[in-house]
């Protein structure tokens, strides 16, 4: 270990203060701090510090994403082989999925991190770890057959416009991963919706067609999947959104470690369940009468509410605000699903909409605190009668 440390210190020498390559120090530090937690000691304030840091927090989110990711890889292959009627084993499905998805992950990380590093060097601050999660989320919420250049372009748009233009990590209004998806959705709608994009190779091989559950409901067709299939995730959809089971495993990790806000998740489920239940009672069309429990397990709702709505930067930040924000995400998700046939799935737009309103929610919660304080002051100023 000392040997490695010495080597790294030698490599870092030209990047030190006053040295030739000083400007590029953030890029080198980003790699170094992945190998070693730095030897920095407290200089002011508290002399002791908690063991947690942003790297650990972000990597915990990645661990929580992994079950859904691995299932997504499997399901990509599974859908392909089932639809094309070929015989296959578990490993065939995994291999097929991996060959499709790994390049997307590589492109997403490559493009995103390159921009992040460039901005860190430009602004002279350290590279923030936020993109580690975004970079994995982007391919997970895309349709499997989307061309790689579209992934790259969407990522570039999201990181430039949604994140760095607002000041970088911690300052963005919108969730960057969802912004990437929204960009692709509106820029290349034919690659992002319909019945030819959700199953691998569907547009190249005759006979393969896969509609999402919500897509077929919106088109007025019946749903041919059992509730068990929908819960486990053996249905077509964006890569890693299909398995509610695996999303729940991720949710359990996020809640147990305290990294994800359970208030937002519970609020979201309550909001969506209540709205969907009311629509069940109304029952004017197929989407409305689609059982409310099924509404919670199909589409990207579970994935969105667990992994995207809980992004602490773009969500509401106050405790009360998190409840309101979560409930409204659930409510709008169901509203968009039911009332807008152009968008069979509503969770992406619901979260982006609430991202925009989160600061307003927080504003009123914080304003309540300020008003309480003013009231207390006024009470001391007016003499008791």
């Amino acid at each position: 270990m000392n040997f490695i440390r010495e080597r790294i210190d030698a490599i870092k020498k030209p990047f030190g203060k006053g040295q030739k390559w000083e400007r590029f120090a953030p890029a080198v530090n980003a790699f170094d701090t992945f190998l070693f937690v730095p030897n920095h000691t407290t200089q002011k304030g508290a002399h002791i510090r908690d063991g947690v840091d942003l790297k650990r927090t972000m990597v915990t989110v990645i661990i929580a994403l992994l079950p859904a990711f691995v299932y997504g890889v499997y399901n990509t292959g599974y859908q392909y082989f089932i639809q094309s009627g070929l015989a296959f084993t578990f490993w065939d499905a995994m291999l097929h999925g991996a060959l499709k998805i790994m390049p997307m992950v590589a492109v997403s990380y490559g493009v995103g991190l390159a921009i992040e590093f460039a901005f860190a060097v430009y602004r002279g601050h350290e590279v923030n770890e936020g993109y580690l999660v975004t970079g994995l989320l982007v391919p997970m919420i895309m349709p499997v057959d989307i061309p790689l250049w579209m992934v790259g372009l969407s990522v570039a748009f999201a990181v430039f416009i949604a994140k760095e233009a607002f000041g970088g990590t911690g300052m963005n209004i919108l969730n960057p991963a969802l912004t990437a998806r929204a960009f692709a959705f509106f820029a290349y709608p034919t690659y992002m919706s319909g019945n030819k994009v959700w199953v691998s190779e569907a547009s190249n091989v005759d006979g393969i067609s896969g509609e999402t559950v919500l897509g077929s409901l919106a088109a007025g067709n019946d749903v041919s999947y059992s509730m068990f299939d929908m819960f486990v995730g053996a249905i077509p959809g964006s890569i890693a959104e299909t398995s509610t089971l695996m999303v729940l495993v991720g949710a359990a990790i996020l809640i147990l470690t305290g990294v994800g806000s359970w208030r937002i998740m519970v609020g979201g489920v309550l909001g969506a369940a209540a709205t969907a239940f009311l629509f069940n009672l109304w029952g004017a069309n197929a989407l409305m009468s689609f059982n409310w429990t099924n509404q919670l397990i199909v589409g990207g709702f579970a994935f969105g509410i667990v992994f995207m709505a809980t992004d602490p930067v773009s969500a509401a930040q106050t405790t009360k605000g998190k409840w309101i924000y979560g409930i409204l995400v659930g409510l709008f998700c169901m509203l968009i699903r039911v009332f807008n046939p152009a968008y069979p799935e509503g969770v992406m737009l619901a979260i982006l909409l609430m991202n925009v309103f989160a600061p307003t929610i927080d504003h009123y919660v914080v304003e309540g605190n300020i008003k309480r304080r003013k009231k207390r002051l006024n009470a001391t100023l007016t003499p008791a009668t």
Binding site: M1, T42, I48, R49, D50, V52, D53, R56, G170, L256
Partner: protein, 450 residues
């Protein structure tokens, strides 16, 4: 008679090296030091020159902004050195003790016969005024202000902090006397005690008693003020440390500024953490030698607790206010892949991304490593978890950073002191320096609002 207050937020950091409740004695070195930096915001104007002799309790400097406030010598001897830093700022005043403790004796009437103005005058003249601090701003109280109440916290919840009832046990009468003196200065004196343990403090008269239950920072007087009688804009409360109350009490019964005190030498690297008899400004080296240090590398010696104390060094001296001397190992080492979740569970973490939460009874040998680097503010809710006040800490910190005075007022800047944000420093995933931000904001408020 007393209201129970239960605080659910907060964090007790389970650090190893708590002091045994025994009193040990150590040799005393003859050099004493007063650090003007202990008195935040005070610009010292010297009353003595280098080489002049000084008596215990004799003023050595006063506050430039408020000449009534004088600061006195803890021992008799010679002012040997005035150490200056950048811009000739006075950093430290060294006094060599003559070992005789010849003291200035003030002639005082019986405390019962003194009026408020007399008490105030005697406190100012004796140097005891330096023990009275005020909220807002966490600075030495302005003698011309009238507080709506005086608050004394009878317990300290900071990690390894000295046990207050134990410190006061030889000074029960002095403490009561001090409370009596303070009661003359304000309409009300509030005394808070730890609801989970019994002590003589519950029998103190002349003060309203509050039983408080909760984790750190429940023992912080600012948190108690917030729940008992919060500071509104334009109001002032005074706060006095429990040991300093006894010191004031002793002054009113003897007429002498009593600089003696007990200090707990604590910390994970201290071999036998225990209490010592000492004095304000005494050298720490003999204490460290007696208690024993068990560390391979460098150590950090802290005047006060590990969350909001001030760093000194092994040849340094005790500060003016502290009864705790914490010794930590310097954490200037690299940890390979130490950021991995669930790695390094020997480092305590409030977050459950470390396995340390599964071992609630373990104590930890914490050091001074940052355990990460400063990052943008991402994680929400963790600051709220360690601040048991009706205040939005992240929003307040952001308002402080952009110096938005109206917003700071609205969000409760008058009710906080840096020490209340010490756990925010500790717990922050983004490693922000909340105490420093709050301190700067308070200084800005003093300048802009006064």
């Amino acid at each position: 008679m007393s209201a129970d207050i239960t605080l659910r937020k907060g964090l007790t950091i389970p650090m190893s090296g708590i002091a045994d409740l025994n009193i040990s004695s150590a040799d005393s070195a003859d050099n004493y030091v007063v650090y003007p930096s202990d008195f935040h915001g005070v610009v010292p104007k010297m009353l003595l020159k280098e080489g002049e002799t000084v008596l215990q309790g004799q003023p050595i400097f006063y506050s430039k902004a408020n000449p009534e406030i004088k600061f006195v010598s803890p021992v008799s001897g010679t002012l040997t050195k005035i150490e200056r830093g950048a811009k000739r700022r006075i950093m430290a005043l060294s006094i060599t003790s003559d070992g005789e403790h010849k003291a200035v004796v003030h002639k005082l009437a019986n405390l019962d016969e003194l009026c408020a103005a007399d008490v105030r005058k005697h406190l100012l003249e004796s140097g005891c005024w330096s023990f009275i601090k005020q909220r807002p701003y966490d600075v030495i109280a302005d003698p011309s202000s009238t507080p709506k109440a005086i608050f004394v916290s009878g317990f300290n919840t900071a990690p390894l902090a000295a046990d207050v009832p134990f410190l006061l046990s030889p000074q029960k009468e002095d403490f009561q006397n001090g409370i009596n003196a303070l009661a003359k200065l304000a309409p009300k004196v509030h005394l808070s005690v730890d609801a989970s343990s019994a002590s003589f403090l519950t029998e103190v008269s002349n003060a309203e008693l509050h039983r408080i239950k909760g984790q750190h920072p429940a023992g912080n007087v600012g948190v108690q003020v917030h729940h008992i009688d919060p500071v509104n804009a334009g109001e002032t409360v005074w706060v006095v440390g429990p040991v300093d109350v006894a010191r004031i009490g002793a002054f009113f019964s003897t007429g002498i500024f009593d600089a003696s005190q007990m200090v707990a030498v604590v910390g994970p690297v201290v071999k036998s953490p225990t209490y010592f008899k000492s004095r304000i400004g005494a050298a720490v080296a003999p204490l460290l030698k007696k208690a024993g240090i068990n560390a391979d590398g460098q150590i950090r010696v802290i005047n006060g607790d590990s969350l909001s104390g001030a760093a000194t060094h092994a040849d340094g001296n005790l500060g003016y206010y502290n009864n705790t001397l914490t010794v930590l190992a310097e954490g200037n080492r690299f940890r390979m892949f130490g950021w991995l979740p669930f790695a390094g569970s020997k480092i305590f973490s409030m977050s459950r991304t470390s396995l340390s939460w599964l071992l609630p009874k373990r104590t930890y040998a914490l050091d001074t490593n940052m355990n990460g680097e400063e990052r943008a503010l991402v994680v929400t809710g963790e600051m709220e978890q360690v601040l048991p006040m009706d205040i939005f800490p992240m929003q307040l910190i952001k308002a402080c950073m952009v110096q938005n005075i109206e917003k700071m007022e609205g969000l409760g800047i008058y009710e906080v002191a840096p020490e209340d944000f010490a756990l925010v420093d500790y717990a922050s995933t983004s490693k922000i320096e909340a105490q420093a931000i709050i301190r700067e904001a308070l200084d800005l408020m003093i300048k802009e609002v006064g």
